[in-house]
Symmetry: C2
Subunit: 191 residues, 2 copies
């Protein structure tokens, strides 16, 4: 974007240390000089990139997954999402990760994939970037069973109903809302 | 939603401890029994709710803010966003917080506010819920200056151009993408 030309980082990082780590996240605390000149700390929750997939079959039905979100202590209706593995961090890795996550979470596959761009989540705190995809003409792979530690239920809804839910906050997960609405607007040739 | 009736938490929490805290985030590590029956840990990055505001003037121009995102090490073009303060956690607090953030980040105010629902960001890791608003007929408040530690530049763009950028990934921040696209689809009476 022309507005970003000549951009310069107004922050100075003096020191970095890892303050918490587990298999999914790493928390880094940086000593910084803020843009205004005062000193302080800035902590970043470091996470792998993630993917989200709007999966549509030949009847125009969208495959959503219903699962319990431990962080929010409630059920959530979402498009299939997940973090990328270490071997999916190359330029083509996001697509492979999206294909893997779709199959793992729903048992579905597709030969027709379109990239819907990226979003960043909680970008004041995390470095998570999500890559969004639209998979059309999805078909079921035989002999699929859900992971017992990730008990998902697949719910098929009409395209317009999925979009309505993303607008009305029946769907709230950010990757799902962005992917469904971007796909809908692209379908209508708005952008 | 009818799909959520009778929902039961499939996780069991055995113990919780705080493993990192700073003025903006708290990291909690829980000992859990996973839905499949195995034991492990689940860590939650606990954050206050946030707000995001699509602010439009009487000429149909949208006020976006350009700022450096330390987490991503780059500039980001976004709608005005921010975390709620401790005195903004009551049912009307999100609206007050949105009005405060809009004025702090842009010097703008409005008498016409519409709620665009909520989203949750990185909901595998954080408990962040963002409340989205549309403020129309915004006008400038006199004698506003930006916070030197949060050097923002306000960029005015046409409605259709803002939506195009949210679809094309020139705007990637999740609250901004969701708020702009929800506002656009509601304007067109889709939901």
């Amino acid at each position: 974007m022309k507005e970003f030309r000549g951009a310069k980082n107004p922050w100075r990082t003096l020191n970095q240390r890892w303050v918490y780590t587990n298999p999914w996240i790493h928390v880094r605390e940086d000593s910084v000089i803020r843009p205004g000149g005062s000193s302080g700390v800035y902590s970043v929750v470091v996470m792998p990139p993630s993917v989200g997939v709007v999966a549509v079959d030949d009847n125009g039905l969208v495959a959503l997954v219903k699962q319990w979100r431990y962080t929010l202590d409630r059920l959530s209706l979402e498009v299939p999402t997940g973090g990328l593995n270490d071997d999916e961090l190359d330029p083509d890795g996001a697509l492979r990760g999206a294909q893997r996550e779709l199959q793992e979470e729903t048992g579905l596959q597709s030969d027709l994939w379109q990239f819907l761009g990226t979003i960043d989540n909680s970008n004041g705190v995390t470095n998570e970037v999500a890559h969004l995809f639209l998979a059309t003409g999805v078909t079921r792979v035989v002999e699929w069973t859900a992971d017992p530690d990730e008990p998902l239920t697949v719910v098929w809804v009409e395209w317009e109903e999925a979009v309505r839910r993303a607008v009305s906050s029946e769907i709230t997960e950010s990757v799902s809302v962005c992917a469904l609405l971007r796909a809908d607007l692209r379908r209508k040739d708005r952008a």
